[in-house]
């Protein structure tokens, strides 16, 4: 492949949206109430829409007749480059909200910068998605505050969820070798520079939600290198089932 670094870079962004979208899709029909159920699946749909645009582009770069479905559905676990945060299971609604909020803040910062990418396709996908992602953050941030500043039970569960996901946040700001090459050429976003704004925003919201900001000295990483948690295999089994069972099927 001529443009392996660009391909890797695109997957690094796209896989986060695919895997988080899949997690949210699992909640279809299981949301705590109708409005929330609809909201979560709407967010999943936005993420899938964005990720389709990325995969179509990645498939063009890969060449040899590859399609978006090949890229999305037919890779092995080690070839998925999403961060560990997005593959974590739904567990309970507090977990869904904590995972979503911690990703949304990062996602919006990333999209804001990616709009200025020298790569026109990536800039266009970012410009298209930015308003959608700002709706996502508004939704997850509102729930975080409502549950944190809610009853004793909702606060306890929300705090537990934030503490649980906190160790996964640092990986968002790591860069791979391909990322660094793309940053140098003005295509990629240097996510390490987003760290300060990220933690500032998150800290403010947690305080507003009357939650404690976790102090965690150790962080869990690996997804960007393709080394995933035990949950990923189960997720992929479900995600890939149709394409693996009926190769080349289409809707």
């Amino acid at each position: 492949m001529k443009n392996q670094d660009l391909y890797n870079y695109i997957l690094g962004i796209a896989d986060n949206s695919l895997i988080l979208g899949q997690r949210l899709g699992e909640l279809c029909g299981h949301g705590p109430n109708l409005e929330t159920d609809i909201a979560l699946t709407n967010i999943a749909l936005d993420l899938f829409g964005q990720t389709r645009s990325y995969y179509q582009y990645a498939a063009r770069i890969a060449g040899d007749g590859k399609t978006e479905d090949d890229v999305a559905m037919l890779r092995v676990e080690r070839d998925y480059k999403n961060v560990l945060l997005v593959e974590q299971p739904n567990t309970h609604f507090g977990h869904v909200i904590a995972r979503q909020y911690l990703f949304d803040v990062f996602h919006l910062l990333l999209m804001t910068e990616l709009q200025n990418s020298k790569d026109e396709t990536l800039a266009a996908v970012a410009r298209k998605g930015i308003k959608e992602v700002s709706y996502h953050q508004r939704f997850s941030g509102d729930w975080l505050k409502r549950l944190g500043d809610g009853t004793e039970e909702s606060r306890t569960k929300m705090q537990e969820a934030i503490d649980h996901f906190w160790p996964y946040t640092a990986e968002l700001f790591d860069t791979t070798e391909s990322d660094q090459k793309m940053i140098k050429s003005g295509i990629g976003v240097d996510v390490s520079l987003l760290k300060e704004s990220y933690y500032k925003e998150v800290t403010e919201t947690l305080e507003e939600a009357t939650l404690d900001v976790p102090e965690n000295p150790y962080f869990k990483k690996g997804g960007k290198q393709g080394i995933h948690t035990e949950h990923m295999g189960f997720l992929l089994t479900e995600l890939q089932y149709m394409q693996r069972t009926y190769p080349n099927m289409s809707w």
């Binding site: 909201a39 936005d46 899938f48 829409g49 389709r52 645009s53 800039a123 410009r127 298209k128």
Partner: protein, 167 residues
């Protein structure tokens, strides 16, 4: 509106394009929605550039197929290309389209500033499509499709969709 954002559409294709409706809001044609960015005749083929409203809008695939079918009925072959840039905005919806949408029961998008106030629940400005009252409250930022939010009228109690401003 910025001049270079005006779509480039051959006049003789307009009657056919006007037959193709949005599958989710059937009173709106693709021209009302402003999703056709280009439609020209070239070497005996109709070349269409279509832009999605929201990234994941499932209506886009259907609209693409419907466009091809509408031209086929008129013995023409159409090719549809999806373009993302410049990104679609609710400003591209026609005034006529917004009126038809309201009659259909969906509140049309407000301007960007008003939209933000409405969706944050700060101000009551979205007009009930049933009785016209602005005494309405936000129920959910996400409605029956990605492009809509859910509101309820506090006067007549009617729940209704509001088409979110996208800019």
């Amino acid at each position: 509106m910025n001049i270079d954002l005006q779509p480039n559409i051959d006049k003789e294709l307009i009657p056919i394009l006007d037959e193709v409706a949005d599958p989710e809001i059937p009173v709106l044609t693709v021209l009302d929605l402003g999703v056709i960015r280009e439609a020209i005749m070239k070497d005996g083929k109709v070349l269409i550039k279509l832009t999605p409203t929201y990234s994941g809008c499932p209506a886009m695939d259907v609209i693409g197929d419907d466009l091809k079918a509408a031209f086929k009925k008129n013995k023409m072959e159409a090719e549809v290309e999806l373009v993302l840039s410049p990104a679609w905005t609710t400003d591209w919806m026609s005034e006529n389209g917004k009126r038809k949408m309201e009659e259909y029961g969906i509140a049309a998008p407000l301007d960007e500033t008003a939209d933000k106030e409405a969706l944050l629940g700060n101000k009551r400005i979205v007009k009930c499509t049933n009785c016209g009252s602005t005494n309405t409250k936000l129920v959910s930022q996400f409605g029956s499709t990605a492009c809509k939010a859910l509101f309820q009228c506090e006067d007549c109690q009617e729940p209704f969709d509001y088409f979110k401003c996208l800019k």
